[in-house]
Symmetry: C3
Subunit: 332 residues, 3 copies
């Protein structure tokens, strides 16, 4: 476990964040070795401005990725986080030979940070450009109604490579999660970013899809993002969440659906937190697209819930072995 025994789970990470120790946790399983200790963590105070540099790089296999340090690009890119009221100034370094950009969902930006060719907001090959993303709290509209703030499980992606909508950049891996939190939101122990894109998860197909790991009882945050040209539904075995902003209920009168399967279509994103294995125990649990030809075709992966002490639960090795061996062919 990566938090002190006996401390409340939802407090531990926040404490570590204050010391800048837990940066790796904030950028997800796909990018465990980041050098920048503040990368991907929310700013420390209300209305803070944080400046980061992101490097867009070409990767093996025709992929492209965003990273927080040179040579560190990943698919998906790092999880970026803010609190409502914070500003994020991103210096995007384009190390590639392609036109590209970074376009966020959910936050405020001027036209010159739109990331779209429409607004001449992109990086030419080799070019460095700064994009500014602002966020805000809800504010009163009239009566009891409020214009919404920025809090949400959002995402960012290229909007300039290949076409004016960044179709090539998105197809090749230029995407990542962006979380804007409301003050008081519960922080997770771990974060997993899952991008459904055409017939792939994080640009991979089974059995090479990510295996996400947590220990029994850890608070795990999933950020699910849709891209591309196909429709998908995200399903997680043995866990469920409220279909609202946080994935939790605001009390007995919260009318939200509780679900374990949700549409995940291009440009959409959502997030939620589960307690790994809570009520069901440890094991190798599947997550997959529930469109049958998609799961059969390779859009499936494993959420490995280890025992609380990190050891392997009975049967999990065998399940992983079956998963790695299976070719998603017709069962004879």
């Amino acid at each position: 476990m990566d938090h002190p025994a006996g401390s409340p789970r939802h407090l531990s990470r926040r404490s570590l964040m204050a010391t800048g120790v837990l940066a790796a946790g904030a950028v997800g399983v796909a990018a465990p070795t980041l050098g920048n200790p503040f990368a991907g963590t929310p700013a420390q105070a209300a209305g803070a401005t944080r400046r980061i540099t992101i490097y867009a790089e070409q990767l093996p296999g025709g992929l492209f990725g965003y990273g927080l340090a040179p040579g560190q690009a990943t698919v998906p890119g790092p999880v970026l986080e803010m609190y409502e009221g914070d500003t994020l100034e991103i210096t995007l370094v384009n190390t590639t030979t392609q036109r590209l950009s970074i376009h966020p969902h959910g936050v405020d930006y001027s036209t010159d940070s739109d990331g779209s060719p429409l607004n001449a907001s992109f990086n030419n090959p080799g070019e460095t450009r700064t994009y500014v993303w602002r966020s805000r709290e809800m504010f009163l509209a009239s009566g009891r109604r409020f214009m919404p703030g920025s809090a949400g499980y959002w995402h960012y992606h290229d909007h300039a490579m290949g076409t004016d909508h960044g179709t090539a950049g998105v197809a090749k891996g230029l995407y990542g999660a962006l979380i804007v939190r409301r003050r008081g939101d519960i922080l997770p122990d771990k974060q997993f970013t899952v991008v459904f894109h055409d017939m792939m998860i994080n640009n991979r197909m089974a059995p090479n899809t990510p295996m996400f790991e947590a220990n029994l009882g850890q608070r795990v945050e999933w950020i699910a993002i849709g891209h591309g040209n196909l429709f998908h539904t995200f399903h997680l075995h043995a866990h469920r969440w409220a279909d609202n902003r946080t994935g939790m209920l605001e009390g007995p009168a919260d009318p939200s659906h509780v679900i374990d399967n949700k549409d995940l279509n291009p440009g959409s994103s959502f997030g939620f937190q589960v307690l790994a294995g809570e009520g069901v125990g440890p094991g190798a649990w599947m997550y997959h697209c529930h469109v049958q030809t998609h799961s059969d075709g390779g859009m499936a992966g494993i959420f490995l819930v280890r025992n609380a002490d990190g050891s392997m639960p009975p049967g999990a090795e065998e399940a992983i072995h079956r998963f790695q061996g299976h070719t998603h062919q017709q069962h004879g």
Copy 2:
């Protein structure tokens, strides 16, 4: 009407359930002749454990179904119900020559009840195996937030026939509705299960799709389930519901959308209750997929709202006749 005149509609069925009389009502229109008087009804007390046997059987026309007694399998299978806190122990008898299983959404289960080949959780041909599904109430996460309970309109399906995702089993009819209720939820007079699967409804095409019937004012519960490879939208004429857990509003501050058309994609499900014909009167009302080629191709059926005394309203016979005669061809 099947409840005592003058008694509140939402109380009548609950009363009848206590006597075990109303089992047939709980398993839907597709399976009206079940022998087991407790089949498909929620357990009678908090935290109860109920044991049922389900028979997976081959049916005419290449279909497969689940049933609560030998020779009683239907497509879709019986509606299964629990209250939050209940446990359901299902002994699945595989009477077929195919590998198959039963995999639920929304409830808690250990890996050996996962119903997936990944966890070696399935019935070989001729094999009997027990699956245990548990449910729970919401519990405090932190501050005012709660981790969600199990209440919802869920479903169950095969996860092992044909492929490791049960693609053949689902395609051939191995699916059904699972409802987990919260204590105090309003109970319906009637229940209809509607499964949108590729170009079919409950594995049928118009004009052979189910005709669901109710009397004016009866409280009708719809459980809608999506499966297969295509995207769909479920539309019901002349009735609407809140897009939340119950389909009803929790009061004037409930912000839920009210809708009459909803995405129904593979692996997703939702449910709601309407008062048959309320505000619109009796008649032959259509329900259909709103994707035009799907409704034109046969994904449409009739919700027949009879007069309060069960007699046919004016025009309904003619509408049914038109429906049965039409070939869903281009109108000249």
Copy 3:
């Protein structure tokens, strides 16, 4: 600006509506020159009945449209509005040589106003027929739960041309927005109807898609409607909304997702209000389908936010020029 300086924005239009001045604003950008001063505005009192005549007409290019006066048909048709409790009596004049009808979502109607051939509810060529749409407030179901009222961002469309589901009528433009408001709802300054239908927006492709215009700070209401055979996701740059009935939050405990991208599939609709350019400034902001081949193929348009005084902001002309010039081809 079209409201008195200094007056609250959400009150101005309501005031103007009382004088019958603002009818054009209620029928959207596509139909700015309506002659009927009450067309498309909510009835003025609780439980009012309003009678309107709608003309279904053939338009150039093989299109068909609905209009509130002869020769005024548009694609989409006029925005129709009611308050919960109101009744709308629509006399539909079919000036065409095709069988057609008008079928609403969200409101109450008897079978003879269903607009479906199933219920023999349509206009033959040249025929005039009256359809009655009623609406209602929520009412108590039991305990704290309410059966939902009619308030919502709905739509209406043909249900009889070409097939029994109106496939040809919908394909050719016979659709429009229907808003049922709850008393006390905030009224907008402007309204835009966006219909995603196959590869088109309002039956047009870029660069001929509608350019919606507002001044900085104006309260703009978007009504988004899906039709046809494809799935879509609606994305608006630099603005977001709560995914609930109004698009605004009912306070800090409102659990709704805040989003800027939403599934927009056949038969579905939603609406929301934004303050044009709020927090991001004026400019040429894109709205588009986020399915990559759809946006690349022409499902994109511009939301032009002018300066508060109506003048053009820096860069907007250039962006519009780029948009009109681009052919949505691959970027070299």
